[in-house]
């Protein structure tokens, strides 16, 4: 299986683990992730205003690059996934956006949302299958109680994201089971970590992160995993006694490829 891959800025800098382990694990599972050439930052925020276009063009370029290769586009970072998925939805439905974006970008052939955007976790669930991953696991993380932290961007708005049940998601829990560990379900797994306030109001994001951590600990979690660099940062900043790691790191560990040369 060969997929186009959009790593995004953070995965090239502060969240290299998320990227490196993701690539290693994919390879171990027989998936080739082809990084889109000359991709540009997604902008980290999806602008909701109906007349907004400029901030969405970089996503359209990435989407069109995947379309030209005839490959689904895989993302890992929650923010990139959120932005690119929503822009793609706009490129399917919003006539005004379709017209203006295509007029501006002038591709060989207009882009109409043809690319399938999937998050790495969706690739594991829908393309590879958690039962296949279970078979490929060489170091099952037996007995480890792991809490999935979803945050906001993967799940909501569910009408567009179509990622999982927004109030009762199971995809990361199923992933945790597949790598042999025990999922811990806790009430704040789909509440906000305060992410976007990190720069402007750190106290606030700290308070939110603590709520998430306390909620996970209350249910007996020994570790928290996430797909979002900013969530990871906020949670890590506020805890010393419980590790917070990227899901790709655990996957690489379970598949026995964590220490391999990348």
């Amino acid at each position: 299986m060969i997929y186009s891959y959009f790593p995004g800025c953070t995965l090239k800098a502060k969240a290299q683990d998320l990227d490196t382990y993701g690539r290693k694990a994919a390879e171990a599972l027989g998936v080739t992730l082809e990084e889109i050439p000359e991709w540009q930052c997604c902008g980290a925020v999806y602008q909701q205003a109906t007349d907004e276009i400029a901030t969405k063009l970089s996503s359209v370029r990435a989407l069109n690059a995947a379309k030209e290769k005839g490959q689904p586009l895989v993302t890992i970072c929650s923010a990139c996934h959120h932005v690119i998925k929503r822009v793609n939805e706009d490129m399917k439905e919003n006539e005004d956006m379709i017209l203006r974006a295509n007029n501006y970008l002038k591709f060989d052939e207009p882009y109409h949302g043809e690319t399938e955007v999937i998050h790495y976790l969706e690739m594991l669930r829908d393309k590879i299958g958690f039962d296949k991953i279970k078979e490929a696991v060489v170091n099952p993380l037996k007995g480890k109680k792991i809490a999935a932290y979803y945050g906001c961007l993967l799940l909501r708005p569910s009408k567009v994201m179509q990622f999982d049940d927004p109030e009762n998601p199971t995809i990361i829990e199923d992933f945790i089971k597949a790598i042999g560990a025990e999922p811990v379900v806790y009430p704040f797994r789909n509440e906000c970590c305060g992410g976007y306030q990190t720069i402007t109001d750190k106290d606030q994001s700290d308070r939110f992160a603590n709520k998430v951590i306390d909620s996970a600990k209350m249910k007996g979690a020994e570790m928290i995993i996430t797909a979002c660099p900013l969530c990871l940062y906020n949670l890590k900043q506020n805890t010393r006694d419980i590790p917070v790691v990227y899901f790709t790191e655990l996957l690489a560990e379970a598949l026995g490829v964590k220490e391999q040369e990348g």
Binding site: E167, N168, V185, E191, M218
Partner: protein, 662 residues
């Protein structure tokens, strides 16, 4: 040459404001078949009808066209008018220039032009009309009630009391429905089972009522006055005629994993069970999916312990047929799926329950014997939060767009009952609006607030989560003070939206009765015919038509019964003469018409036919005029044009189309 009269109605300003009625009259007068045309303010009034009668006599009219409102409104009126003047009633055509013209146009010129076109089409058709004579069909004096809740029970008793036979078909093992599950009823707080079980007994004992419990309607054929219904009696694996309801088998059964439906799954039951002590019929039922005998071939403890020898593992579903003159749909409701609203943790925390589950927790015959306890640990709660409108008034796609109507009142009831019985328990109700129209309803709700100190907080709850004490925290906003509310509580009760029972869609399609986008059955007229379906002979009782409480359900059940009795009191019904017939020389015996006929009115016979001088035996379609309802499906399906409909012949339709396209 026909002599046609055209009568254009103003309908006050309803038509006249958007259609120039004088111009319509002038325009139709140019038609060579029209010998008279006039307009009048209200053609349906006695004065208007007199104009028509006089014109028929004076101008010796052979047919009339009335340009007015929808034929659903006044076709009958004008047909009677024509008959009174000696004109066959099928020589009347209505041009609908109100609903299909004046009401939807703003521009008078456009409206007028369209009205003229519609009038011309009707004139073209009436010129080809022929006098028809209606026939008669016999009325079967027996009614079928689908659903044995309080709605079905009340309709059955009222019809039976009027002297007609009634059968109740109920898909669960007992009648009684949701009402039998309730603890107390608002606004009088009388015990639900104390008032519903006597009615259940009355049904069982009534000489005119037969109960088919654990049965389902399988197929419906026929038409008003003469429905032919197949009913499936599902295998209970217990001989109803032998079982005494002693319940020994239910106690001895070693399989205890069946979901106890009557207690909303709050506890389990044996594989052989009687839903509750007052069940009617009071006989056991074996649930084969949980029964060890059906799973392993062994066990059989129930059979060994049954002194009446009633257990019958070999029993099979039985299908039988019965004729009915009328059918009452009383399929009721179910609680909608609250798992979609998991911000309230219903699937995650056992102490988050629905209101119906709370009814069982408070009921003396419930899983906790009427002692209110937390499902998680069986301990007494000290604080309870009620959340209103969960899934009601919701257009996001998760819930129902309508108000479920009963929740405000039953929540006030729950709150009051809890405060009365357990004064130490704090009760909070988060509401959006408190809706209490009804006799003594608002007084009831106010009593909860003023006398019982129930804490009503305006604002929907945003999130419920488990706190470090293992209890629940409710996150909300008090919209009156505009302040955050964070409430630690022991139980959360969700007033979940109600929705029509699943299966109602299937029933509706069997009955060709229409349902709305929420699966509620549609009334023939929302105000004037609220208990009748648009399908003749099908009546509506209870929540299958829309959310309603018990008093309203009982009133509607009685109203539906009166309509049924009115129908069954007739020996014969006048049948529609606009039925299909075959041109024998054109029919090629292909059976297309037979396949599409929804009434089973078409059969085939071998008949000697004289065609172009040749006499031969051919297979041709024959229409049973008593069964045919004139729907016209066969005329469209017929590939050779042999099928035609009296009063709506292919020729007439083409003449209308030609007139419109001219």
């Amino acid at each position: 040459m026909q002599r046609i009269g055209v009568f254009v109605c103003w309908c006050g300003s309803n038509i006249a404001a958007t259609v120039d009625v004088d111009r319509v009259v002038e325009a139709v007068k140019t038609d060579p078949n029209v010998v008279h045309a006039e307009n009048y303010q209200y053609m349906c009034s006695e004065a208007g009808q007199k104009l028509i009668r006089d014109a028929i006599t004076e101008h010796q009219l052979t047919g009339i066209v009335v340009c007015s409102c929808s034929p659903r409104m006044h076709e009958q009126t004008f047909r009677k008018t024509a008959e009174a003047a000696g004109l066959n009633q099928y020589m009347v055509e209505i041009a609908n220039i109100r609903e299909q013209c004046s009401w939807i146009h703003k521009d008078k010129d456009e409206g007028t032009e369209k009205a003229i076109i519609l009038a011309r089409a009707a004139i073209a058709k009436v010129c080809l009309n022929a006098p028809l004579q209606p026939g008669q069909s016999k009325v079967v004096k027996r009614a079928l009630i689908i659903g044995g809740g309080i709605a079905g029970i009340q309709s059955a008793i009222d019809i039976a009391d009027a002297g007609y036979k009634v059968d109740i078909v109920e898909r669960t093992p007992t009648i009684g429905g949701k009402m039998a599950q309730l603890d107390k009823t608002f606004p009088t707080l009388d015990c639900a089972s104390c008032i519903v079980t006597p009615k259940m007994v009355e049904c069982a004992q009534h000489p005119n009522i037969t109960i088919y419990a654990y049965s389902e309607v399988e197929e419906v054929k026929g038409f008003v006055g003469n429905f032919n219904v197949k009913i499936r009696k599902k295998a209970r694996y217990v001989d109803e005629t032998k079982c005494t309801g002693c319940a020994v088998c239910t106690e001895k059964c070693p399989s205890r994993k069946g979901r106890n439906e009557f207690n909303c799954g709050l506890d389990t039951r044996g594989a052989v069970y009687i839903p509750f002590a007052q069940a009617i019929p009071n006989v056991a039922t074996i649930d084969a999916t949980n029964c060890l005998h059906f799973k392993t071939g062994k066990c059989g403890i129930c059979a060994k312990n049954c002194s009446a020898n009633a257990i019958d593992f070999e029993q099979k579903d039985e299908i039988f047929e019965e004729q009915y003159g009328a059918i009452v749909v009383a399929t009721g409701y179910q609680i909608s799926d609250v798992t979609k609203f998991d911000e309230y943790q219903y699937t995650k925390h056992p102490d988050v329950v629905t209101s119906l589950e709370l009814e069982r927790l408070m009921n003396a015959a419930g899983p906790s014997k009427g002692v209110l306890v937390k499902p998680s640990d069986g301990k007494h709660p000290h604080d309870i939060v009620f959340i209103q409108c969960v899934g009601s008034r919701d257009i996001s796609g998760r819930g129902k767009c309508y108000c479920s109507k009963i929740c405000c009142m039953y929540t006030a009831k729950h709150a009051m009952l809890i405060r009365e019985k357990y004064p130490d328990v704090n009760v909070h109700v988060f509401y959006i609006d408190v809706r209490t129209p009804g006799k003594n309803f608002d007084e009831f709700y106010r009593r909860a607030v003023e006398q019982y100190n129930v804490d009503y907080i305006k604002g929907m709850v945003g999130k419920v989560y488990e706190n470090e004490k293992g209890g629940l925290t409710v996150q909300a906003v008090d919209l009156i003070s505009n302040e955050r509310v964070m409430l630690d509580t022991d139980m959360v009760v969700l007033a979940a939206a109600i929705e029509p029972s699943d299966g109602v869609k299937h029933i509706a399609s069997m009955l060709t009765a229409s349902i709305d986008t929420n699966n509620f059955l549609t009334e023939a007229h929302p105000k004037l015919r609220p208990v009748e379906s648009p399908t003749a002979g099908v009546f509506l009782s209870g929540v299958c038509q829309g959310p309603k409480d018990i008093p309203e359900t009982v009133s509607q059940a009685g109203a539906a019964a009166v309509k049924v009795v009115g129908l069954l009191a007739k020996d014969y019904l006048v049948t529609n003469p606009c039925t299909a017939h075959t041109d024998e020389t054109m029919c090629n015996g292909c059976s297309s018409c037979e396949r599409v006929c929804p009434y089973g009115a078409i059969s085939y016979i071998d008949k000697e036919v004289m065609d172009k001088g040749v006499r031969e035996v051919r297979r041709i379609a024959q229409v049973n005029g008593a069964l045919c309802q004139g729907c016209g499906a066969c005329t469209v399906a017929c590939p050779s044009g042999a099928m035609d409909l009296k009063g709506f012949s292919n020729k007439q339709i083409m003449a209308e189309v030609d007139a419109i396209c001219k």
